[in-house]
């Protein structure tokens, strides 16, 4: 049985960060559900003002980006020649591109909401929506910075078949950002 057991991807530090982030977002999601429970009608009415298509597009972009990062890590783990390094760095570049599109879409969506005269104090729904959107966006921006560093390191050939913990750790952070959005999208945009 122990032969089948593999080591956990990434280093301990990144898992610590992931656990803390999951806990923090878990508390916010709980707060959202409690607030919704106390005023379902207001939450349902306010939700109609959100752009579901933008939320859908953002979900597709993050899933695609996460998948591209998986492919990059796979290429480094099974590295054979310089072509694999190039492929891995290209996957990372495309993942960053998807992240950029997510940011553009999210900023446009937020500007549209603010343009309607909605702000943090409009109602409880929008307080949660704006806080969750901005908090998650901060994580996306940090994730993109990490992906950029990984891209540069990959391009320089700093990762090998045996030494790629840094790449795995950065990838794990990006997957966590994706996981958080996977829960946030139906909770805030769809469920009524």
């Amino acid at each position: 049985m122990s032969n089948q057991q593999q080591e956990l991807q990434g280093d301990f530090g990144v898992w610590l960060v992931i656990y803390v982030e999951l806990f923090t977002f878990g508390v916010i999601f709980t707060g959202y559900s409690v607030a919704r429970y106390h005023n379902v009608e207001m939450f349902n009415e306010s939700q109609l003002l959100l752009n579901k298509s933008a939320g859908f597009l953002n979900t597709i972009l993050l899933i695609t980006s996460s998948w591209l990062v998986v492919k990059a890590v796979e290429n480094i783990k099974n590295i054979y020649n310089d072509f694999d390094i190039k492929k891995a760095s290209n996957y990372l570049l495309l993942a960053i591109g998807s992240g950029v599109l997510f940011v553009v879409s999210k900023v446009a969506e937020l500007l549209h909401v603010f343009g309607q005269g909605i702000n943090l104090s409009s109602n409880t729904f929008f307080t949660f929506y704006i806080l969750l959107a901005l908090f998650h966006l901060m994580h996306v921006l940090l994730g993109m910075f990490i992906l950029f560093v990984l891209y540069q390191n990959t391009k320089k050939g700093n990762y090998s078949q045996k030494e790629h913990v840094g790449l795995e750790s950065g990838a794990l952070y990006w997957h966590m950002v994706d996981l958080l959005w996977i829960v946030l999208f139906p909770l805030v945009y769809i469920m009524r």
């Binding site: 049985m1 089948q4 057991q5 593999q6 080591e7 956990l8 991807q9 898992w15 992931i18 656990y19 999951l22 806990f23 878990g26 999601f29 709980t30 559900s33 409690v34 919704r36 429970y37 349902n44 109609l48 579901k52 298509s53 939320g55 859908f56 979900t59 597709i60 899933i63 996460s66 998948w67 990062v69 998986v70 794990l172 997957h175 966590m176 994706d178 996981l179 996977i182 829960v183 999208f185 139906p186 909770l187 945009y189 769809i190 469920m191 009524r192």
Partner: protein, 72 residues
């Protein structure tokens, strides 16, 4: 699979109907999507230890808590 389940969620959203069954399907599909990310993207399906279940436990708790506040 992830894209297909996201399309399903979007289609449910387009109906703009408050329906208990839609919510059950929506949250169940969200759990499946999250589990796939945890298992296949984060590589947890290949790892066996007591820490293995934390992200899945977190996901399950969030989904159950959401369902709980929706129905009670």
């Amino acid at each position: 699979m992830l894209i297909a389940l996201t399309c399903l969620a979007f289609l449910i959203g387009l109906t703009e109907v408050s329906n208990s069954w839609f919510v059950v399907v929506l949250l169940f599909s969200t759990f499946i999507k999250g589990k796939m990310i945890i298992d296949y993207f984060m590589g947890m399906n290949e790892y066996v230890s007591r820490w293995n279940n934390f992200p899945t436990l977190w996901l399950g708790l969030v989904i159950l808590m959401t369902l709980g506040f929706y129905f009670f």
